[in-house]
């Protein structure tokens, strides 16, 4: 369960998102909003990247008071991931496995299903944006997160990989009860999931609807 209390994210005097109080039960959420509405800012605040006022907690673990425990339970994939160019895909995976306490078996499953094995030993500087995106999605699924936030997961990747991603989300949610917040301009393929709740971000306010 994700809990917001007096949450305000602003840049200078400009408030981007303001949530007085809100509880999001475990589930799959589709975060909608026009360009510049603050979707990425909200996700990055929730995932511990950005400073904000107020409080966010996940299953009663506060981000501000117990940052390490909180970050163990929340993973993130960026809309346009950037990684050190000299590292290889495998080295990035090893780095994340160590940080997020994941297992090699877990990583192998994601690598194989996304058919990424052939280029993971190459430096990331040679990857296309689609390859980087797929890698960022694999990294977001490593470890034992309670919540995974994916920023624009539908962009850049091909249709085959998209159906694999939907499958991962479905499995992770049904087998491990992992929640998801997916920010996207494009409509999600709702037929894959049993239930998807919508969160609309407009004028700095978050409006939940089923």
């Amino acid at each position: 369960m994700l809990y917001f209390n007096k949450f305000i994210k602003s840049y200078g005097s400009r408030t981007i998102v303001k949530i007085e109080e809100m509880e999001l039960s475990n589930g799959i959420y589709w975060l909608k909003g026009v360009n510049g509405s603050g979707k990425s800012t909200l996700l990055k605040s929730v995932c511990g990247f950005l400073h904000f006022e107020g409080e966010i907690s996940l299953n009663n673990i506060s981000l501000k008071n117990s940052g390490v425990d909180y970050r163990k339970k929340i993973n993130f994939a960026d809309a346009e991931p950037i990684y050190p160019e000299f590292l290889t895909g495998n080295e990035m995976i090893k780095l994340f496995l160590k940080a997020k306490s994941g297992s090699i078996t877990q990583a192998e499953y994601y690598i194989q299903s996304m058919d990424m094995g052939s280029y993971l030993n190459n430096p990331l500087g040679t990857y296309s944006s689609g390859m980087l995106k797929k890698l960022s999605l694999v990294l977001a699924f490593l470890g034992n997160p309670t919540l995974i936030c994916l920023d624009e997961p539908l962009i850049t990747i091909d249709t085959d990989s998209l159906s694999v991603l939907y499958q991962w989300i479905k499995e992770k949610y049904e087998k491990e009860n992992t929640g998801f917040i997916l920010s996207s301009h494009q409509p999600l393929d709702l037929s894959v999931f049993n239930k998807v709740s919508t969160l609309s971000l407009k004028d700095g306010k978050l409006h939940p609807s089923n």
């Binding site: 840049y11 990425s40 800012t41 990055k44 995932c47 511990g48 990247f49 950005l50 400073h51 940052g67 390490v68 425990d69 909180y70 970050r71 163990k72 929340i74 993973n75 993130f76 960026d78 991931p81 950037i82 990684y83 050190p84 160019e85 000299f86 590292l87 080295e91 780095l95 160590k98 940080a99 997020k100 190459n122 430096p123 500087g125 040679t126 990294l139």
Partner: protein, 371 residues
Amino acid sequence: MTDILKKIFANGFYKIHAGALLFLFSTLIIYFFFINTLGTVPMWAVTEWNLAITLALVSSPLVLIIYLIVCLGYGFKSWQYVVKQLSVTHNEFLFYSTTSFRKYIQFKSWFLVQFKIFLPLWIYTIFATVIGLIYGYYILPISILLFLAFLNAFIAYGYVQKINSLVQKSATTTAGLLTKKWAKPFFILFTYQVLDKMKLTFLITKIVSYLFIICVSLFFTETAGAFSVGTLTIIILITAHAIIIYKEYGFNEHFLYFSHNFPFSKIKMFLGPCLNYAVILFPEILWLVTTQRFDHCGLIILLGFAILLLYRSIMYAIGNNMKRFLFWIFLIFNILFLGFLYTIIWYFVPMMLIISYLIFSRNYSNEHLSD
């Protein structure tokens, strides 16, 4: 096209290299002209000496060669910067927009871009040439001007060739190949970035650092191993690494941004990068170990890391802003120097560690990043 290219490359070059250029052209050259010496020096002597320095450039082949080497180094550095910027994703549009102009128009634009980058060299060269001509030196002044014009045109031609050729992405770099099988723990990643992408910056820093060490060894032959000499040296050596510290912050916030989501405590994120610097500063640490007493050496290294952590934390408070960073480095360096003169520098160590942790802790979830 010229304005856009100037804005991206020439302005960008000055912005990135503000620190180094400030040092090179303000500190070195202006220092030569406006230095205040101890005691009274008659005005005629000041003018004569300054004139002699400038005239040496246009009359002495040795000084001329040194100046030409400086021009070549500057040209190489600017070439390296522009080529690197051309490979950045947000500049890729230049490959399919500027290339539709005729080659001589492209050359003219790139020549003007390089001219702007070379502006400090042009100003100084023209100044020296005028002085040379006034005093009856003709061959060398004209040669310098021609050389600079040729270098400017040659580099501009290189840019035109580069932007019109097909992009070839190498599968790996030499550093990448050499370190392929090495472990890459998180807190050592910046060292690999230095080896991979910052070789020249690293080399220049090390040259400055070791030049200072050589000067210390030459001037303090009797007391090179003295505690106070080691203390002063470490203050200067860490300050000489300010550009590396500045670049490390940029690397962390750009390429390691994902790590803000890692379950690492703040203290780990604060102290972890010391591993990087233990490797980067290895030559300096080696010098300390071989010249200082063991217990003194430990204290001096502790002071060095306290200064380094303070400089790093300043970056977290001000963001990627070279001008403000230089201001703070200048201020802190002077305070440290006063602390050294009044032998109270050791009281600064715990203070610096506490202050730098507080600054880091407060600014780690960076306010400067829009997202």
